[in-house]
């Protein structure tokens, strides 16, 4: 699965994207796995209220299931316009 990071999430983790092998069945489970990896992940994911998530390029929430998902992206609240 491709995991993408944008804005300060990307900067904290130090990567724009990476391939992740995961058995996580929800976004929240994937977050737990990532948090356990390294400090930089733990820091980036320390406050989920400050984060947004998209699964296969659709905004969703942290309870969303991951079955069949090809791409998960984490980023801060958007500031377009």
């Amino acid at each position: 699965m491709d995991v993408l990071y944008f804005a300060w999430v990307r900067e904290r983790i130090g990567l724009p994207s990476e391939k992740v092998d995961t058995g996580a069945s929800t976004v929240a489970e994937l977050v737990e796995e990532l948090r356990a990896r390294e400090d930089r992940y733990a820091v980036a994911f320390s406050d989920l209220a400050a984060l947004r998530v998209a699964v296969d390029q659709e905004l969703t929430d942290f309870d969303a299931p991951l079955d069949g998902a090809r791409e998960v992206a984490f980023f801060p609240p958007m500031t377009g316009g």
Partner: protein, 152 residues
């Protein structure tokens, strides 16, 4: 003339010509009496901003904007809709984005443009970073922008 209603979304790094876009928008339509445009400019309130950098999510950005524009076309009677949004680096005073709506009645054109802006602000995957001298910081989303969605 009444050509089929058009919806156009463009996400690009290069600058766009706001005057030319505004002039060309819905110009082949004589059945639409009301045209509203909004343009967002890189704002430098304190005179210290050097660069605004906008990151986006290629692929998702276009889909999100098309979904917002399609939803606006469902809610209001619109003849034409245009959304242009830049990403990358730009300086103070440069145009970041624009939306334009054309309708028979001004109420539809105004409301749809405000709806597009409210959703684009908080639901399209763009992130702004401001550079002031050597410092740079991500622009924080505001409660006000999130609250703006509640009226629709």
């Amino acid at each position: 003339m009444r050509p089929a209603g058009g919806m156009q979304v463009r996400v690009q790094e290069t600058a766009f010509d706001f005057g030319a876009e505004a002039a060309a928008f819905a110009r082949n339509r004589t059945d639409l009496g009301a045209i509203v445009t909004f343009s967002g400019i890189v704002r430098d309130v304190d005179g210290g901003l050097t660069v605004m950098e906008i990151e986006h999510y290629p692929g998702m950005t276009e889909k999100a904007l098309e979904k917002i524009a399609a939803e606006a076309s469902t809610r209001w009677s619109l003849g034409e809709v245009l959304v242009i949004h830049r990403y990358g680096r730009m300086g103070p005073g440069e145009q970041i984005m624009m939306v334009a709506t054309a309708a028979r009645h001004r109420k539809d054109a105004f409301e749809a443009a405000e709806y597009l802006m409210d959703y684009l602000k908080s639901r399209a995957p763009f992130w702004k970073k401001e550079q002031t001298g050597r410092d740079s910081s991500w622009v924080a989303a505001t409660d006000e922008d999130e609250d703006a969605l509640k009226r629709w």
